[in-house]
Amino acid sequence: MKISRNISFGQYIPRDSLIHNLDPRVKILSCLVMIISLFLITQFWGYLILCSFTLGGIIISQIHPKFIFQGLRNILFIIIFTLIIHLFMTEGEVLYQVSFLKITKEGLINGLLISFRLFILILVTYLLTLTTSPISLTDGIERLLSFFRFMGIPAHEIAMMMTIALRFIPTLLEETEKIMKAQISRGADFDSGNIFERAKSLIPLLIPLFVNAFRRADELAIAMEARCYRGGEGRTNYRELKIRKTDILTFAFTIIITFVTSIMF
């Protein structure tokens, strides 16, 4: 019954810091640049530099590292899994062997590199979602996507869909928890039995959830129509995004760091 608490990672934490106040477009693009360079780098030193750069960002953001590493716990499994797969599945110079399982030097290096890469990848995206409210995040995406409008990409509509989806994640989680509790009170059992029984036991949860979600979508559509919403054309924003000096400096700094590390390593 601790669903909503488990999925709280990456949730926006309001603070008043340099990173929080950056333009969302700068943050998204910086993230993107970081991620691209993560895949270009092939040596430990490069990762170390990017990792300390990200950690520096976390310190500046004034978010307690506890929240970041709390969320990372959920991903730890994937990282360890990748490491193990790489350790045993790569051909090369054998370091250690137990019957048919062998650890190779190449496997160890590759596994550590990939794990490190994953770790930084998650850290960076974390920093983005922890410091950017969903609204400004979608604002930023909308503005970034509008560059591609000439290709027929409906930037506003995509951003609107994202906003609505993001807005309803906590609502749906709350509702899931509530319905689960209601059905447990009626004798439903969600955690025992084999996989088929478990799947079947989800019916009392999923049907009400869907019924309510559709009803809510209906109501939302009517409410939007009642306020004369008619898509993106000619629509202005309440919060205008403005690029300031700090935005330019931060972005330039990120570009330089990633560019240099990508070339050097």
Binding site: A182, S185, R186
Partner: protein
């Protein structure tokens, strides 16, 4: 003693930026057969409190005992506790999922392992308790019913478990006055006829004053009053108003009469009582009018 809460504290999102202390030092005893009202402002912890009664939540610190069983102890049979304490959530119609009303009401007994041949009886009995005609409703889809009917089906689907205690979280929210009165009188009848212990969370002061024997008032995670509704409305009206709660209209009327210098007793809960009280204070009214 049926339910016993001993220094219960409950905190949501411990160690998170959104940490909230929902319950603070709750000590409470509920005896079998009581009819208890629970009032308090939105967000004062009522819903959190009642979820402790059937082990859906276990306290952050402190103990909850249901018939002597500690709900936070590992390895206890929570299902048997949930069969004893039926919890009806707010807007219970949102939990309906079956194809027919019959299956909906039969879900609980089936899950608690009742044999098939006894289930039909349970369904009949439960539907009768909420005054729905078995022959008319059993085969209908619960989604085709009106709001009030859906809520009664949801209530029946808890009653069919035959709980010893029934906890209702605002069972009349969002209903029209007629459906509201109907559900409340059914709850009263269930209490009278079957001796089921009832905890009723409500915002409707009039009805709660009329119905319950004992009233709990919650404020910011604490129980600040625990007494008969008559005592609370008669003697603690100011405290109630201070925490943002109201009085039943008749009681308020009596308070205003008192304020204007009429010596009336303010602990009245119904219109009839108020009429009697006012008449008894007037000196032979028919004579003075002539």
């Amino acid at each position: 003693m049926f339910i016993h809460l001993d220094e219960v504290y409950y905190t949501y999102n411990i160690d998170m930026p959104f940490e909230t202390k929902a319950l603070k030092n709750i000590n409470l005893e509920i005896q079998k057969g009581e009819f208890i009202g629970l009032i308090g402002h939105t967000g004062c912890g009522k819903t959190t409190l009642i979820q402790h009664f059937n082990g859906l939540l276990t306290p952050t610190s402190g103990k909850v005992y249901v018939e002597g069983i500690d709900t936070s102890k590992k390895g206890i049979d929570l299902k048997s506790i949930r069969r004893k304490v039926g919890l009806v959530f707010q807007y219970p119609e949102n939990q309906l999922f079956e194809e027919t009303v019959y299956k909906e009401v039969a879900f609980g007994p089936k899950k608690f392992g009742l044999p098939e041949d006894k289930i039909e009886n349970r369904v009949r009995e439960a539907l009768k308790m909420v005054d729905l005609d078995y022959n008319l409703y059993a085969e209908r889809s619960p989604f085709s019913l009106s709001g009030g009917e859906m809520r009664r089906v949801a209530l029946a689907s808890i009653l069919s478990i035959r709980p010893e205690m029934l906890v209702l979280d605002e069972p009349t929210a969002n209903l029209d006055p007629q459906s509201r009165n109907k559900i409340l009188s059914e709850i009263k009848a269930i209490h009278n006829n079957f001796g089921i212990t009832i905890v009723l969370v409500s915002h409707n002061m009039e009805k709660i004053a009329e119905m319950v024997d004992r009233l709990l008032v919650m404020h910011k995670g604490e129980i600040i009053m625990d007494s008969s509704p008559r005592d609370i409305f008669a003697n603690h009206a100011n405290d109630l108003l201070q925490v943002g709660l109201g009085l039943p209209q008749v009681t308020q009327c009596m308070y205003e009469l008192k304020e204007r210098g009429k010596k009336v007793y303010t602990g009245v809960l119904t219109v009839d009582e108020a009429a009697k009280e006012i008449l008894s204070r007037m000196k032979s009214p028919t004579v003075s009018r002539k």
